[in-house]
Amino acid sequence: MAEPNDIRVIIDSHCHIASQEFYPNSFIQGSVGNMLQVLTAQGIPATKKSLCGMFEQTLQDPCCDILVSEMAEAGIAKSVLLIADFSYALKDCKLTIEESFNKHRAVLARHPGKFDVFGGIDPRWGQDGLALFERSLTEFGFCGFKIYPPCGFSPSDPALFPYYELCAYHQIPVVLHQGPTSPALSFDVSNPFLLDEAARRFPAVNFVLAHGSVSFIEECSMMCRYRPNVYMDLSGFQTFTGDRMITGVRNAVTQGLNHKILFGTDWPVFRLQGSQKNFVSVLVDEDEGALSQLSDAEKDLILHGNLKRLLQEKADAPASRKNAEAHECM
């Protein structure tokens, strides 16, 4: 079996900092509860405590040093760190959103050139949230917006429009979670069609539907096919196992939509299953990889070209990106 082609530039469009600080216990416990159901139904002697312990082991990289090492091993040149703001919906968050932004700023400064950060804010935080988001673009060096609708709002909620106006002004993309998530949150606002009004009202803003090859697969494809400013990422493809992991990605990349699809791993969510190198290999292995039947040009679009194009627009934006100031990580 061939090794991943390390000459090909790879940018991971969907990662998070692997630290418990960014995940409320209620969020983790909900996800672990689902796992526990599967295990106990099979007669496996698992407990919630032991499962949480294993989950926590995957969240011990607050400065992203391990991630950078895994990126090097996998041939990933750069990763996008997405900030999900659970602080309005879940009351057991360990950090305020401003503290969370500062932690990401520190990682950006610690690993120059290795990361981009998309700040996330629940729109119900009002003017304070909007002001912080704008500072993240003009002062912190962040270059995108992340929203998490299962926290209880539609991606077309008018409260988000001022954020989208800022995104249009600064020419930055928006990544939104779509599909079910931890049972601590709402699934009824996770349908990608809920984005349609916002995508229509803000044609100058590019929206990326996360997990487009995993949840609401048909809906995501339709949105990408018919809305010029809607894209999707492949993150979460590791949800499926064995051949289905490869066929899931293959199905996504054989629809004539490769100018709209972004590679992503959702680090650290699948760390129990493998390393970044394993996951890159699933896609880029020359013989059996999910992208093996595509032309080099199509592979490049998915692995870095599409994201670069979305971020390139920022280069001409009115407020240029400034280097993140050095902050102490931890």
Binding site: S50, Q57, T58, T241, L272
Partner: protein
């Protein structure tokens, strides 16, 4: 058959038990890739870990051994890691 061989076989047996039914017929060798060839997702890996704890009477959370799940890629990796845990746990378990 020596003790080491018995332990290895027991661990390979635990891996076989943790494989999803669709992949049960696949032959397992030390080089077999757990995720790609045996369809083991995070639930499958966790099943193996919990079965291992029960079979050997080891509570990983009470040991000082740090198990990095991402290092378990092949059946051989799982066997090697399990053996290390068993070796490190022996003094604590007593003779």
């Amino acid at each position: 058959m020596d003790i080491d061989t018995t332990i290895d076989e027991k661990i390979m047996g635990l891996i076989a038990e943790s494989v999803p039914s669709k992949f049960k017929k696949n032959t397992i060798t030390p080089a077999t890739h757990l995720r790609r060839e045996l369809g083991m997702d995070s639930i499958g890996i966790l099943s193996f870990v919990f079965r291992f704890e029960k079979a050997f009477g080891i509570d990983l959370s009470k040991t000082n051994f740090h198990v990095d799940m991402s290092e378990i890629r092949t059946a051989g990796d799982a066997v090697n890691l399990a053996r290390k845990v068993i070796e490190q746990s022996q003094p604590a378990n007593g003779a």
